[in-house]
Amino acid sequence: MRVALIGQPNCGKSTLFNHVAGYRSATANFPGTTVKLATSPVRLNGHLIDLIDVPGIYSLTTSNPAEDAAKRLLLSGDVDLIVNVVDASLLSRSLELTLELRELGLPMVVCLNMSDEAERKGISISASRLTELLRLPVVETIASRGLGVRNLFTHVGLQASARPADAPELAWHADVEAAVHSVETVLDGCIHARHFPRRFFAIKLVEGDDDVWAAVPACAHAVAEQARAGLVRSHGRPADSVVMSERHDRSMRLFEQAATVGRPQPDLRSQLDNWLTHPLWGYVFLLLVLGGLFWLVFGVGSALETLLLAELESLFAGVGAAFTQGTLAFAVVRSLWDGFAGGAGIVLPYLVPFLIALALLEDVGYLPRVAYLMDGLLHRIGLHGTSTLPLILGYGCSVPACLATRTLPSRRDRFLVSVLATQIPCSARSTVIFALVAFYLGPWWALAVYGFNLVIVVVSGRLLSRLWPEVSPGMILEVPRYQWPTPSVVVKKVWLRLREFIVVSWPLLIGGSVLLGLAEHWQLDAHVNAAFSPLTALLGLPVVVGTTLIFGVLRKELSMLMLVQALGTTDILSVMTTTQIVVFTLFIILYIPCLATIAALVKEIGRKLAALAMVYSLAVATLVGVAARFFLEALAR
């Protein structure tokens, strides 16, 4: 049985999914995190079901690719049951989607989530009354604490093949009902399939939905056109607006019948926004948060790095003694060990605290506030506050950042934001900044690299938005409530992102290390370095770093780890100048993103634009590298 979890953004869908499906899906407290459909086989109360986590949607009226994905899934016939997750504290609004889903005629269970939040807002809802009115099972849950989840899936099992019963009291006004009915009748004559969502199709045709319009036989079009024209005549506004009002009207009535509104409990969180979105204190706090994040990651990371590197080196002294230096065996063992130690000693110390901090910020719900604060500034580079989210995600990893652009309304915005997001140092590149610049040159240099990078992103944004002027209508974004981070969700999210490093990059890192070790053993690296020498000479870098640039395309942190190996020492300062370290880092940050990101770019913006983005990044990296070289050299004199 395939069960789709569907609900509006921030309704707690992914939290619920995580609760039952384990470490497989990422969630975040802002709209549009679930950009791909995560599916997980789950055994619940003896039933084996495939649980599908669908992106948060407000309606089945497609306005972005995420909603499109949801609609296509629901119409594909691949879904046996819908679990409609509803945020109880926003019940009146959420019921519109419930009513729309009901029109599909699929077996359905309503999950009334976050009832604790509703209570706090003074809203008390009778689930049994709602069950009666909707003629659908309504189950209360508090997914963040796992309450009611078992009960929910008991109902899923019971409801498996029960299609929703007719609910005459949910019918619309007579004239709208008649318009829909006329289309239903003609659809029956046109479509010969035994099962199709007749009412859903009819309503969508009346609404003028392009996809459904194209999906049904042309013989239904004339009647649908008539029905639409009739509604426009009698209501004086577009037919889709009439239908929307009907749903709104019914959901308001449902709300009034099933819920009572009392006095809200005093809530500190509403006071919090007076400060956190304040025109002055909001920005002060934002700077403090970002600064705190930086020092935390650097403090924890560098302490651990020093400790671990010394520990690992002394460990190797024991292992290495068994082999004779200069032999092939020694070269292999040494480079295997270097690859392993690089991951454990240099990447993980920074990656883990960074991912934890980012997951906490996401889960608390702070990021949409950042979007609010940053919108005005981002307008100056031709973007909107909505783009803040992918850009901030970019500091974690470029791949989810590119995937998150899917929630942006225009192709132009998706291109611009994904190009800019790939110019932002992801956690892998942050590792380079921390382990190379901060560790050898000091934290202020690292901060300067971050600051300079931001300048480049701004200039890039201005340039690109000049070349491709804006057409998108602007930002609209729902603000979730603040919530305490759920430890299990944070742990799962960190693990999900960490796993990517452990299973994909670490083996690559070790393999790359061995390749480089062998190349050095047979003295092949000289040829690669010679091929890259025009570039390294232009950037004023040592010739030996040539090979490391290739590894950077696999994974950015590889280039730094390979640097240690290529130079043959961890005491980088003895072989590279400050200028060279900074230029190397800037080049690594900006040139062609890693393989995984390239794949994500191709997927999101297409092959042509992705190729363009790569050429652009290479040009920017070279330009910035050369400029930084001459500037710093002049400064040093």
Partner: protein, 90 residues
């Protein structure tokens, strides 16, 4: 409801664009201009003709508005807010 009908019903309130509304004002939406795509975007978060909104605050530097609508809080960029014609409620 057309704008003319509304003006007739409430002759004493002038229609303004939402981006002109000030913090803590309550407004009612009279019309959403700018075409189907824009009204769809706004309608999803229940900013539709007839809806009552409360402007909570506005961001500096030409930033967006924070608006309360049917119990939810929504950030609306200024360019989008220009498409929403509202009347200020007392």
């Amino acid at each position: 409801m057309t704008r003319a009908a509304h003006a007739h019903a409430r002759p004493h309130t002038a229609a303004v664009c939402l981006d002109r509304a000030r913090p803590s004002q309550r407004v009612r939406v009279l019309e959403v201009t700018g075409g189907r795509e824009i009204s769809r975007l706004l309608a999803q978060l229940h900013i539709r003709v007839g809806a009552v909104l409360r402007v909570e605050r506005t961001a500096p530097l030409g930033g967006p508005l924070l608006v309360e609508c049917e119990g939810g809080t929504v950030i609306i960029g200024r360019r989008l807010a220009e498409h929403v014609r509202v009347e200020v409620l007392p």
